[in-house]
Amino acid sequence: MSQSKTINAKDIILKIAEIIISELKLEDITPETFNPDMDLVDELGIDSMDLTTVALVLQDEYGITIDEDDYPKLKSIRLIAEYIQNELNNKN
């Protein structure tokens, strides 16, 4: 997926939700119903290995690098979306 143009924030949020649902094999939730402000660690119970997996998939999806040291910042879908948008802006 080429990321040379600005991506709609809502689209990024939905895509991140879709990836998390797919990678973590979550049931009874859709990208549309996934609360983007839910704390992925405290409320969803995601652990470091899951987060790393999601980060690796997001790197591929958006053509960015997510530094290992930045993982603790990725506490919700909205924060991940902001991180990705920043990285894309810096890249462009």
């Binding site: 470091s48 997996t53 998939v57 603790p72």
Partner: protein, 365 residues
């Protein structure tokens, strides 16, 4: 034994491609994807460790239990207190328990209590006293050399014979041979006996307790000889040895595990955001814990830590650093596949994907 032969018959490579692969391309390979899917099912494991007794029926030179403050904690032998602790641990997300120090088999009723609450776990024992089958955890039986060495270093006569009597044919059991500077060649006779009795074995590296200056501490030569022995035996006893080339590299490197991978246990990791820094605790026998001392081998010198228990978490946690090219990712998958086969009941190790020794990210062999 010549150190220069240390990696025969397998090959080694100092450097690998600098091309950074996409993760999706890595797992597009069928073999890699299959192994990735196999190991990732166990990403839910979240461990903590528990000292079950402050007593031991042996007294081994270099035992890290009898270092530091934890040895002085009184025993809480109340099964109800332990059951309550296990329920609380489960409630905070712990899915895996490691029951250790000093000798857990001396408190079998407490082991049963833990198993009844959290059914995934392992017990580190000297194997002198058999643990009841109803405690269906993995059982790691420590071996520190042949019987002469056991008599000298552990004060135990005919220990290997007794250990095998207790655990022969027991699917819970994995013998853990700890390489010291003094016992490297003994592994060959020990493994002959282990294999003849159809037992499984893996390898550990003696990791000095803080302040230890004794003769068991490894040096450059002993680490090289140990690496050779590990690789020899991995090739010679594929049905008995649970190990991988990357395990050999990671645990015999000149850098400690902390040096190579930045240890993620609380003692060396101040972050409480996610992972081990957030969830791991090391409980003493009085059910207290201390974040500043918490790791899987407390009172071990981090600069000399190459312990198998530490590596299982520390290497595994560095998925990101290994998902950069097929060779390194396969090495990491072999490492994780190995650790799961040692620590998880019913998990069967697959054939290693990588028979070549690759250096950890950012380092040479």
């Amino acid at each position: 034994m010549e150190v220069s032969d240390s990696i025969s018959p397998l090959k080694a490579k100092e450097s690998i491609s600098n091309i950074k692969w996409k993760f999706s391309d890595l797992i597009a390979d069928y073999e890699i994807r299959e192994r990735w899917e196999k190991v990732r099912k166990y990403f839910f494991l979240r461990e903590s460790t528990y000292d079950m007794s402050n007593r031991c029926n042996l007294r081994c030179d270099g035992c890290y239990y009898y270092e530091g403050e934890k040895q002085f904690a009184p025993e809480n032998g109340n099964p109800e207190a332990w059951a309550k602790l296990m329920r609380e641990e489960k409630a905070r997300g712990i899915t895996y328990v490691v029951l250790a120090g000093a000798e857990p088999s001396l408190n079998p009723n407490l082991l049963q209590v833990c198993y009844d609450e959290i059914p995934l776990g392992s017990i580190a024992t000297n194997g002198f006293k058999r643990i009841p089958e109803s405690v269906d955890y993995m059982i790691h039986i420590s071996v520190w050399g042949n019987d002469n060495t056991s008599s000298r270093v552990r004060g135990a006569k005919n220990l290997l014979k007794k250990q095998i009597e207790n655990y022969k044919g027991d699917p819970r059991a994995v013998f853990v041979f700890t390489f010291t500077r003094e016992n490297i060649n003994e592994v060959y006779e020990v493994i002959d006996i282990i294999a003849a009795n159809y037992c499984k074995i893996t390898f550990n590296m003696f990791s000095s307790p803080v302040g230890y200056t004794g003769s068991l501490r490894h040096n450059d030569e002993s680490r090289a000889l140990t690496r050779k022995a590990m690789m020899d035996l991995l090739g010679q006893y594929p049905d008995n040895v649970l190990f991988s080339p990357y395990s050999a590299i990671s645990h015999t490197h000149s850098q400690s595990l902390h040096g190579l991978f930045s240890c993620s246990y609380p003692r060396m990791n101040p972050s409480t955001d996610i992972g081990l820094g957030r969830s791991f605790r090391q409980y003493r026998t009085n059910l207290s814990w201390d974040r500043s001392a918490a790791c899987c081998v407390p009172d071990t010198d981090c600069a000399d830590c190459r312990h198998y228990a530490s590596g299982s978490a520390v290497v595994t946690a560095r998925l990101y650093r290994h998902a950069v090219n097929p060779e390194l990712f396969k090495s990491w998958l072999d490492y994780v596949d190995t650790y799961l086969s040692i620590w998880v009941r019913g998990y069967e190790k697959s054939k290693n994907l990588c028979d070549v020794m690759y250096a950890p990210p950012g380092y040479e062999l």
